[in-house]
């Protein structure tokens, strides 16, 4: 009886320890929602939009984590590729679903090339993948700006003058994507409500069904991919690189493939994200995508070595709940919306820092334990003798 009780208590504390980050966020949100004074209808509608907008991008992070390469800060490379695709589609004024698909087709080869580059670079920096991919993002950002801000309209032809800066070359810093705005979201519209559950009232809620279907397809892909030979190899490499190598798995090649897949998916994700936003901020949309996706995944309870589909959706909901609520809560609490905004910036960065610290801490302890047990082993042998 007491035995069972203790294991339950242990389980409970283990559950809290393992899910500390999401639990903290649920508590923060639970406190901030009433303070913000937003209606349930508004919150649910906003969340549904944001889930559709961001999930694909965040899902693209899963595969490198599986291959033991940590959080792929290089996903911004894919986002840039997607944006280049969108710039061309905008210039050619291809509208609607064909526009989105064409942007993806243009973005894919660029994303594959950048992904290959990223994979090769990361193979030269094993053990430092995250910081390297992070800096690589900055580096490619420089090249991206070189191309978009100087080459486009100069020797990369851009016919639509409304996209180009008045000096004659370079793309403007904000491009209106009116032609493909919410095209995917409105492809299969569904409006539900209003509901009345007791005294609880919900108004009309629009659900972007097509976007959700695409995301669902992606989830199925991830589930399927885990079971393929390639997916198994990646998991093995994620577990132990040396062992996989001696088992005949081409480690470097598989790692490159993992990054390429992630980059291409991030490219698609960015296009889906931007078709919902309706405006392309040419010079910073991609950076924001990387940083918010990673923060959201970590808030969903993922770690640097373990992340699943569940983490993605929990993360998207909690992160964006905080994102919507924080400024209003800050305003109502402190009289300044700015405090709430800085708070959510602080939380986004802080959560990444905390997750990285927890991960490094665990790894550090594991190494120490391994050393201790190595030292301990001969003693046991002697004792046995």
């Amino acid at each position: 009886m007491t035995q069972a009780k203790r294991t339950f208590a242990q389980k409970l504390s283990g559950f809290f320890a393992n899910n500390a980050v999401p639990i903290i966020f649920i508590v923060i949100s639970a406190l901030a929602i009433p303070i913000s004074g937003f209606s349930a209808t508004y919150l649910i509608q906003e969340l549904l939009i944001r889930i559709g907008r961001n999930s694909f991008l965040i899902l693209s992070l899963l595969i490198p984590i599986m291959a033991g390469m940590g959080l792929n800060f290089g996903m911004v490379l894919g986002a840039m590729a997607g944006q280049i695709g969108l710039i061309f589609v905008c210039d050619w004024s291809i509208v609607g679903i064909p526009g989105i698909v064409l942007a993806m087709i243009i973005g894919t080869p660029i994303a594959v090339l950048l992904g290959l580059l990223c994979g090769v670079v990361l193979n030269r920096a094993k053990g430092q993948e995250m910081v390297t991919s992070y800096i690589l993002g900055f580096f490619i950002n420089g090249l991206y700006q070189l191309v978009v801000l100087y080459f486009m309209g100069w020797f990369i032809p851009i016919t639509d003058t409304s996209l180009v800066l008045s000096r004659g070359y370079g793309i403007r810093n904000a491009i209106s994507l009116m032609n493909i705005r919410t095209i995917l979201d409105r492809l299969l519209p569904l409006r539900v409500g209003p509901f009345d559950i007791g005294s609880f009232h919900l108004g009309y809620i629009d659900i972007p069904v097509a976007t959700y279907l695409v995301i669902a397809a992606f989830c199925l892909f991830v589930v399927w991919f885990r079971k393929t030979k390639l997916g198994q190899d990646m998991r093995a490499i994620g577990q132990d690189r040396a062992v996989s190598d001696s088992a005949g798995i081409p480690v470097d090649r598989t790692r490159v493939i993992a990054i390429v897949i992630s980059t291409v998916l991030a490219c698609f994700g960015q296009i889906i994200y931007l078709q919902n936003m309706g405006t392309l901020n040419t010079y910073n949309s991609h950076d924001q995508a990387g940083m918010f996706s990673i923060a959201a995944l970590l808030i969903g309870g993922a770690s640097v070595t373990r992340a699943g589909i569940g983490n993605v959706f929990l993360g998207v909901i909690l992160f964006h709940l905080m994102f919507i609520v924080a400024p209003m809560a800050g305003k109502n609490l402190m009289g300044q919306a700015q405090i709430g905004e800085f708070f959510r910036v602080f939380v986004s960065y802080g959560i990444i820092a905390v997750a990285l610290v927890l991960h490094a801490w665990k790894r550090h302890n594991a190494i120490m334990n391994a050393r201790r047990s190595l030292r301990g082993a001969p003693d046991k042998k002697e004792a046995a003798l």
Binding site: V95, G96, L102, N284
Partner: protein, 154 residues
């Protein structure tokens, strides 16, 4: 070898598909122009009143010297022009045409020429429209001042 052929085939399919997407997804800006126009030494007066319907959309009514703009998607569309009397009551003449801009982008249609049953009614689009104001763009490696969280300014 076989996988090479397969890859090339896949590439070709994707290329064809993208050309197809370009073809069916291309948006054309159509300017409808009802101004007096000189052509081959002849002068064609602006129509008193004309009602134009493009691609089955709600008709647009043009007075003399009017110019209107609408967007059409796809490689071809139907054009229906009703030339009316000056009070806009009776239809004097109805012209129906099918236009095929195909891969081309924008075009301008001259109503007086169309009413005269000429085939050169498709003109190049006017150039130099007013451009929206812009901010100067500077390269930056600044990741985020996330969304709307810029610090206060003076």
């Amino acid at each position: 070898m076989r996988s090479f052929i397969e890859r090339v085939a896949a590439l070709v399919v994707i290329l064809i598909a993208s050309v197809g997407l370009f073809y069916i997804g291309r948006e054309h800006k159509v300017f409808l122009d009802n101004k007096t126009i000189e052509m081959e030494g002849q002068s064609f007066r602006a129509l008193k009143f004309v009602r134009v319907s493009v691609a089955g959309k709600d008709p647009i009514e043009l007075m003399p010297r009017d110019r209107d703009l609408l967007a059409v998607v796809g490689p071809s569309f139907k054009l229906k022009v009703e030339v009316m009397d000056e009070f806009g009551e009776d239809v004097e003449k109805t012209i129906e045409r099918e236009l095929k801009p195909g891969f081309d982008k924008d075009m301008m249609l001259s109503m007086p020429l169309l009413a005269a049953d000429r085939d050169d009614y498709i003109l190049p689009p006017p150039t130099g429209p007013a451009r929206p104001p812009e901010n100067d763009v500077k390269p930056t490696d600044e990741l985020v001042i996330p969304l709307d969280a810029a610090p206060p300014t003076d």
